[in-house]
Amino acid sequence: MRIGSPELALLVLALPFASFLAIGLIRPLRRSGRPAAAISIVAMAGALLAAAAMSWEGILVARALNPSVLWSWLPADGGPMASVGVWVDGMAMQMCVLVTLISLLVQVYSWSYLADEPPPSLGRYYAYQSLFAFSMLGLVLSPGFLQMFVFWELVGLCSYLLIGYWYERPEAARAAVKAFWITKLGDLGFVAGIVMLWSATGTFDFWPLFQAAESGALHVDGLTTIMFLIYLGAVGKSAQFPLHIWLPDAMEGPTPVSALIHAATMVTAGVYMVARAYPLFALVPSLLVLIAWVGAFTALLAATMACVERDIKRVLAYSTISQLGYMMAANGAGAPEAAFQHLTTHGVFKALLFLGAGIVIHHFHTNDVFRMGGLFVQRPWVGGPFLIATLALAGVWPLPGFFSKEAVLAGVLQAHLSGPFLMLILTSFLTAFYMFRVVFLAFFGHAHDHHEHPEPPLTMDAVCRALAALTLALGLRAAVAGPHAEGPAWLPWFSLAWAFAGIALAWATYQAGVLDPARLSAAFAPIDFLARRRYFLDAIFAGAYRFALLSFSRVVGWIDRYVVDGVLNALSAGALRAGDTLRRVQTGRPQDYVYGVALGVLLLLVWAQLR
């Protein structure tokens, strides 16, 4: 195990946070736009350098060393309840580099992409971006569940803020709220799980928990329930079935935000958490099987929906859900290393896909792939990187997606999970199909309009090229390093064959015109019907939400009308009736009052006598 310098890790954390504080608190700076963006980008570049240095200087240590810097937190009787700090092991270091790199590139890209935004909004955007990077880094470096939960919620908040960045648009505001609500549903399980774990073991910290788990000394009643609840948090965050419905709607945010959320932050948090807490999950094999099945099912379900989607960003969103399913399936199959490898490679090429899609959307002024065409001829420098990322996602040798996907498949196969394995193989076929459907429709085919489009800004292009170079480098490094997935020899050829079959089907349908798309969808009519309607899951959720809300409102309305109002009405009616009765005392005749006075005096006299 390698560990890095904790001082550098703290620097990695401090830089984006300082930039957030500076932009967020200094009002003139925030409203100035561009200077705020420059500060955020410089801070992010510094964080990337620090993360790279930390990763570079990481030293090999014995397995029994606690790789963290800790301070105690929440003092209580009998010692502090939790600790905060940084836990700098290999996974955290690699993740830090990925998060800072993608954040930096996304921020540079946004410099041009959001050039037309008013300066105050731009300042706000960069403040959120800095906070987002800080939250994700804090999550990645967490030494315990409690700190992880705090940053987990911060990440959720930032995604809400960024998805709803154009909050004047009702769809964006609704999508932000939806993302927040759906992920909160999972977070409820997460927080309940970690509190139950704490009450059973007395600690939130990974180190003692993992030590106990690996030495078999962890005896907790109901560990299955606890770990299932913690897994629920990952289901919400990493968009697993059935809580995946927030992710496609999150496309309402600006495209760079989608790239950030889908590649390095937010959705990877769930996968990372499960991979991080794997020693604990490993104690509950039945839950692992469930995770694998749910992951594989999510992958397949999202892939079918991607096949019928017309919006290029939504296709990419479904492909993200699908790839997250792969990662979770690998986690469930007992191969968290494969999951993590797929997470990092996917982060790089998914960022490239989204940023490329941003240029494509800028170019055609539409999200609909059926109204695009011929971009590859006009802009080979845009099409090239996008094509590389698409091949990587489809899992074609020698790109990084091929190796990480193969590692995932090998892991699932070794765990003897043939059901999930078949689903994942089918998914890889569908992945190749729907991605090349987009490529053939948008980049090849014939152009629909012939008027001149302006060149995409240089920074956006440069970011895409840098990511494409990185994708190629990662793939070539993996290819040179040789095969390390311990699967059977036929597996690479098998998955490659399915990927090429998918590409061939897309080519035959959308490029060569051999197959009619309408006949293809007719052949799979039931699935086509359901996928186009998103398996009615959105409707079910909306209906359940509405049902719960309406029935609850009805109960509250009944209580308000009949209990609260009833008491008040009874009181006022009583007062009215009493007044009606008592008014007869007031006759208005002077002599009656004198009677009253005389009687009162008499009574006083009698009382004085008797006393």
Binding site: L582, R584, T587, G588, R589, P590, Q591, V594, A598
Partner: protein
């Protein structure tokens, strides 16, 4: 004659006055009842002044008489005004303040 005799006389006059105030229907009669009650008080004051050799009671009585005169003047003026407006001074009909 002892002090008690004067006090009993004053109490009787006061009771007669109160009875008049309570039972007379005519507003002028009610005013007369009030006069009786006030004079009963005067008798009390004079009796105490006499038996305790205290001049203050006599002076107080003088004041009371003066105030009584003023009160009758105002009371009769009100009765006349009421009669002009309502064409009656029957106390039972003057019930504008009825709830």
């Amino acid at each position: 004659m002892p002090l008690q005799a004067y006090l009993v006389l004053a109490a009787l006059v006061f009771a007669i006055g109160l009875f008049g105030v309570l039972t007379r229907k005519n507003a002028v009669g009610i005013l007369l009842g009030i006069e009786l009650m006030l004079n009963a008080v005067n008798v009390n004051l004079v009796a105490f002044a006499r038996f305790r050799d205290d001049l203050a009671g006599l002076i107080f009585t003088l004041f009371t008489i003066a105030i009584t005169v003023a009160e009758v003047a105002v009371g009769l003026a009100i009765v006349i005004v009421i009669f002009r407006v309502r064409r009656t001074i029957e106390a039972d009909h003057l019930d504008l303040l009825r709830g």
